[in-house]
């Protein structure tokens, strides 16, 4: 590697590590009592910490399940049978970039309140399911691109025809043939969805839900050291989640030549650039 490359990467690494290191230092401060884990103990003893974290994890899991159930069959089907509408699907999935969360939350509530009967308001609009519905939208751009990149790497036409000529049903083909081949793309998509929901603040705070990021903000505005500890914990958890997904992605993929999960993640953003759709 040339020296210029090392210099650039060192500057980059410093930019990312100095703020993290500073926050760790702050989280260990105890005012006049030197350094220690007091801030961490305070956070871990707070029942709100567990409640909000668990709530956010639940939301993240629900969002991941709904998103995958919606998008995996859609991406597969569009590639297999409806290649003509792929540009349309792609355009729609990029829309959440055009309609930022702060705008989406305005529109969602106004739209649903305008026509919903009481029971729908009670059971859906004013429940955490509505939050999940919004989070599915937020994750669409990333999930679509990750899945799209994954499915391009697999010859789904041949696989599907082979499966069907052997008598497999559509559902069986999807679950037993296509999904195992999309494993790494699906994992990348799940990871991104999970990370997005765990960190989402805008919609949750406007909709008045005590999610983990909203809890962090409450602490952050009042108590400096515990907030620093909380920041370290939350960033740590995010990276642990990423590592778990990486390991899962590696397992059973030894034969592949490439680090596929990495490739699928890169593909998530790159799909937009490699996609001749609409050209």
């Amino acid at each position: 590697m040339p020296i210029s490359g090392i210099v650039v990467l060192t500057i980059g690494a410093l930019y990312f590590l100095v703020p993290v290191a500073s926050t760790v230092k702050f989280s260990l401060e105890q005012g006049h009592a030197g350094f220690g884990f007091q801030a961490y103990r305070q956070i871990l003893d707070d029942p709100q910490f567990r409640h909000t974290l668990w709530f956010s994890v639940q939301l993240a899991l629900e969002t991941t399940v709904v998103t995958m159930a919606l998008m995996v069959p859609t991406v597969y089907w569009v590639h297999l049978r409806l290649p003509k509408i792929r540009p349309v699907v792609e355009a729609i999935t990029i829309l959440p970039f055009v309609v930022p969360p702060i705008v989406l939350v305005v529109g969602l509530f106004d739209f649903f309140k305008s026509f919903s009967p009481d029971w729908l308001l009670q059971d859906f609009v004013f429940s955490s399911k509505f939050l999940v519905a919004a989070y599915v939208v937020l994750s669409l751009p990333f999930v679509y691109r990750a899945l799209d990149a994954g499915i391009r790497a697999v010859d789904i036409q041949t696989l599907t025809e082979a499966a069907e000529s052997l008598g497999a049903s559509r559902t069986r083909t999807l679950f037993r043939v296509i999904l195992p081949n999309l494993r790494e793309a699906v994992l990348a998509a799940c990871l991104l969805t999970f990370v997005i929901v765990l960190g989402e603040f805008t919609i949750a705070s406007i909709a008045l839900y005590q999610t983990f990021p909203v809890y962090i903000t409450t602490i952050g505005s009042a108590q400096a050291y515990p907030a620093a500890a909380l920041t370290v914990i939350s960033v740590g958890l995010t990276f642990v989640a990423a590592a778990v997904f990486l390991v899962l992605g590696r397992m059973g993929l030894r034969k592949r030549r490439q680090p596929v999960l990495g490739a699928a993640m890169t593909g998530m953003a790159g799909a937009a650039s490699t996609n001749p759709g609409g050209a």
Partner: protein, 313 residues
Amino acid sequence: MGPEGPGAVVLSTIVAERVDTVAAPGPAPRPRRRLPLAWLGALPFFLYASLFLLLPAGDVLIGAFRSEQGDWTGANVRGLFHAEYLHAFENSIRISVYTALVGGLLGALMCYAALHPGSPRFVRTIFTAFSAVASQFGGVPLAFFFISSIGTLGVVTQFLKDWLGIDIYAHGITVFGFWGVFLAYVYFQIPLMLLVLAPAVDGLRPEWREASESLGGDSLTYWRSVGIPVLAPSFLGAMVLLFGNAFAAQATAYALTSGGYNIVPLEITNVLNGNVVSDPHFGQALALGMIVVIAIAVLIYLPLQRRAARWMK
């Protein structure tokens, strides 16, 4: 038009369609097309997108032109041109352009340095996984990164003061204003650029460089005639994406400045939280303004991406 794979249609459909074309010569009444069952497969997606994305977005667009009594009015949109809100749009656009430029350039350099041909595979894996996670950082954790480092008592602030004699706060730099927001945004812009640009950098073939060298070109010639022209569309497209990303961000600026920094997402937040006295429809007018700005950015982005696609694969 998207490419239709050679086996895009199942055999039976091909046969059916051929029979159709043979059976319907000239002006004879065309046999009715088969019910397009294939479309049913995409129905759940279109339903979901309509209910939770398209119609709510349309609601915002229409709501911006409504008064509280339900009449049509242009007052909300006219309100956007008040000095305070023009200033918010100006601030938003400025911070987005600056962070896209700085984050984009740093990200592109890092991307090229890390994905150099011959860089070890584990570097790439860690690099992409890290970028995927870090590009989603935001809100209080990100704000705290910078409060801890360049806040009044921050580690970097103290270091500069004690060791180099530079007091950044004496120079008007504060983490709770432009500089804090700027540095925090660059923190997620860089990894986003890494993610988006990686496929294009990977697409730079070593043969091109060899060809350039064997024809007597030096490094500068290679970059001027090959590297930059090939990367430029992807890079510019990615910059637009970064712009939109910063423009839409709310949580980080909210956390750093407690909602006090005058950018559009925070103005909308203030309207929604009832911190300012105004027609709720004015929030929708602000939202409409955001959509217009980002839509313009995306209109620039799409043709660039199409050009970038030429060099892929």
